[in-house]
Each structure stands twice: as structure tokens, then as C-alpha cells.
Symmetry: C2
Subunit: 251 residues, 2 copies
């Protein structure tokens, strides 16, 4: 991993400029670590940034490692896509993962499962096709969201609860005895679920006290709290993954 370049050059984060989306898991890790980065698509076109800069990278016909979709990061000469792979790559330098190969692997595994739940949360409003509007798949969305709230959300959140409960190093963190990017991502996941499904999330989180406590602890970490108050944090909205459609929420 060319980590030297991460120190020498500013990391570029490439993601859609108007939503938290999957990019937020990367942004949160960078912010929590106090790392310098450029949020490319939100930058000024006059400075060579903006959506055109993101699109140029995505379309580059000479790129050896073309990303499938945002988010992706440019770290020196290395272009890395897939949220969990990005975090796995950046975390040692950001000090957001344990040093052992086993700790890195377990953190990655948890992040991938968070990613699976994020995909399912997305599909509650897009069960048929990502290219159609919500309004074109609303009856199907209601059915899928009902199952998500009743079955999938409890299944996932109870798994995170179990990890915390069974962590030999204590119940404050998902991996070992200190903060990792998986903790930050679980915070973001809970934020999203509470925004999109306030009733269902409250019901399930009442049964997962360790998850709830971890969420509260991450929210008040000084760098995280400062970030959440800053204009760099895009508010949740109905173009993102977590959307507040009351008709999709259920007790």
C-alpha cells in the first residue's frame, strides 16, 4: 500500500455531492481521524473540481483500476472503490483498525455486513430498479419495507448487539478495545435507520442496548461532534439511501 503518498498528497474522495449515501462512511472515518481530504465533487469547477472531475475519473479509458461506481478515493497513484475496501485500505493510516491481520479481517467482515444492511435499506424504496423513481415502485416498496422493518432490521441489529456482547475485550467497541471504522459505520447506520424508520428503529433499538450505547458514545467524540455540526455534513434527504417516507415505516 503506498501509504507514503497518503502523507505527501491530499487524499481525494469522490462521491455524489448532494447526499450522504455510501460516501458518508468514508467521510466519517476521515473526519473522525482528523485527516486532510478533498471532497472532489463538492469542490469548485474553476479549481478543477466538481462533478466533472468525478466523472472524468470514472470514465478514464486508460485507468488500470476503474471504479464501478462512487464512492472511490484517489490515494497517491492508487484508485480504490467499494466502501468496505476503501475503509480497509485507509484504516491503518487513520489508526481506525487494529494492527493484527485478524483484527483487520474481522473489522472488514463487520463493515461488509453493515454494507449489506445499507443495500437492503436502500432497496426498501427501490425494490424494483435503481433507475426508476420511488413513485414508480411504491406498492412494491411498501411490501419490501414492511419485511425490512419486521424481519431484516432486527436480524442485523441483533447481530451487532451480539458482537458487542461477545467481544472478549469489552462491550464498548465492535472490535477489540478501541475505536475502529466499524464503530463509526454502525453509528452512521443507526443515524440512517432512525431518520428513515423512526418508529421501527426505536422499537428494535430498545432491544439492543449495546448498539444504542455505542451510537451515543460515537456521537460525542469531539471530532465527530464537530463534523456533525459543520456544513461538511450533508443533511439526510430524500435523494439518499436513508429516506424519510412515513408510509414505509412501521411500529
Amino acid at each position: 500500500m503506498p501509504q507514503a503518498t497518503l502523507r505527501n498528497m491530499t487524499l481525494e474522495l469522490h462521491y455524489w455531492p448532494a447526499i450522504q449515501g455510501r460516501g458518508e462512511f468514508v467521510r466519517l472515518a476521515l473526519e473522525a481521524a482528523g485527516a486532510a481530504y478533498v471532497d472532489v465533487a463538492r469542490g469548485d469547477a474553476a479549481a478543477g473540481l466538481g462533478m466533472a472531475a468525478l466523472q472524468r475519473r470514472l470514465d478514464d479509458a486508460r485507468c488500470a483500476h476503474p471504479p464501478f461506481a462512487p464512492p472511490f478515493v484517489k490515494d497517491g497513484d492508487l484508485l480504490v472503490g467499494q466502501t468496505a475496501a476503501i475503509l480497509h485500505h485507509l484504516a491503518p493510516e487513520l489508526k481506525l483498525v487494529g494492527r493484527s491481520a485478524a483484527a483487520r479481517l474481522w473489522t472488514l467482515q463487520i463493515q461488509m455486513t453493515i454494507g449489506d444492511m445499507v443495500d437492503e435499506a436502500h432497496d426498501t424504496h427501490h425494490p424494483i430498479a435503481p433507475g426508476l423513481y420511488y413513485e414508480e415502485q411504491q406498492p412494491e416498496a411498501r411490501r419490501r419495507a414492511r419485511d425490512f422493518c419486521a424481519t431484516r432490521m432486527p436480524k442485523y441489529l441483533r447481530w451487532f448487539e451480539r458482537i458487542l456482547r461477545q467481544n472478549p475485550a469489552g462491550q464498548r467497541h465492535l472490535v477489540g478495545g478501541r475505536l475502529s471504522y466499524a464503530d463509526l459505520s454502525l453509528f452512521q447506520l443507526v443515524e440512517g435507520l432512525r431518520y428513515a424508520f423512526p418508529k421501527a428503529a426505536a422499537r428494535v433499538l430498545a432491544t439492543t442496548p449495546h448498539v444504542t450505547a455505542l451510537h451515543q458514545r460515537v456521537a460525542v467524540l469531539p471530532r465527530v461532534a464537530a463534523y456533525l455540526r459543520s456544513p461538511r455534513r450533508i443533511p439526510f434527504n430524500e435523494q439518499g439511501i436513508f429516506r424519510c417516507y412515513p408510509e414505509l415505516d412501521s411500529e
Copy 2:
């Protein structure tokens, strides 16, 4: 990574015994490398194997790294879930990934994207809920499958084609100049698409000649070919991820 234990103890693969599913990506890597492994849930209950053995691991209340779902492997003392994380972990020992951190990361990234496409292929017959039968979500399945065949399948397969075309080390492999687990997984993905969507897959694969050629090359690798002919290869069926429902296929 406790690779010494992989050499000393037989690796355990835990996956549902009657389908290829996500476990097949792991099985294929182990078979292509000629590695010794026990396919636990397909073993004899009298020998302490079978579904009860898988379930015992899944339910273990003292396990520090409980898997969310099969597939998972037990490699010495280490339990690893999530298909892409399993392959990332096993590949150096199996010699199915390049040695550099950059090669390992790029291979992981491709595998994660293959996994995303597998999820979407699964959701063509289960767009509403994994816990319901196909017959309970058939109208929604038809709609989702139509979009998958028309939009998503070309988008993914053209990305794999582009990776092959833009690979600086040549167009025979996804990563560098030799076989990796990503090549094996792309083979398996094409097999599944051809089984589930023969018409749509033929149409799209006609536009991705490098993907088609890679699939053909993998199929005749001696260990892969021997495995595919063996009783260890479970045939595709309508309980797995790739299901042949003609009403979901389209030209």
C-alpha cells in the same frame, strides 16, 4: 493471519448443503488450488458433521467473531464470514492473488462488485423478502428481472470487460498476468447468469468477448474441469441464487 494452522489443520467450509449459492465462490477457489477442505454441512452427522455442526458454530454464544450467515470458514482458530473476506483471507495461501497490497486490494474490490451483482441476481426472484417464497412475490420478480436483464446485467458485465481490456498486464486475467480468485468468481457468475437467464446472458455476453474468453479458459483448467465433473459440484437448482425461471428471462 495464522497461515501455519491452515497447513496443519484441514480447513472447514460451512455452507448450506444443497445449493451452490455464495459458498460456491469459496469452494471453487479451494478446488482450483487443490486445497484440502471439509464441506461441513454435507458431511456425515455420525462423524460430527452435517447441518447440526454448521448450526452449532452459527449459534455459539462464546464465539468472539460470530458469522452473520453462511458461508464461513474455520481456519485454525479463526472463523471468517462474508464471501469476499473469506477469499481475501485464503487467497495468499492458495496462491490465488498477487503478492502486493495493491493487487490484493484490487482483487478484493472486483470480488465485492461480483458479490453485488450476485445479490442483484438473487433479488430478481426475491425482490420483496428473502423469507417469502418466489411464488409470493412473482409479479414483483418479473418487474425486477426485466430491469436486471435490460440494465444491470449489461452494466456489470461491461465493467468486467473494461477491466480486462484496460489491464496493463494483458487481457487474459482480471488482475495482473495470472489467475486470481476474481477470475474464478467471474467464471462462476457467468455460469449462473447463463443458467438463470439464458437469453439475456447470451445477448449481453455477445458484447463482452474478453469476459466470454476468460470464462472458457477457466472452465478447462484441469482442476476446475475435474471439479465440475465431480459429485462435489452441486448442480444449479431452484433453491439457489441462480434459478432457471423462464418467465424472468428476456431477449
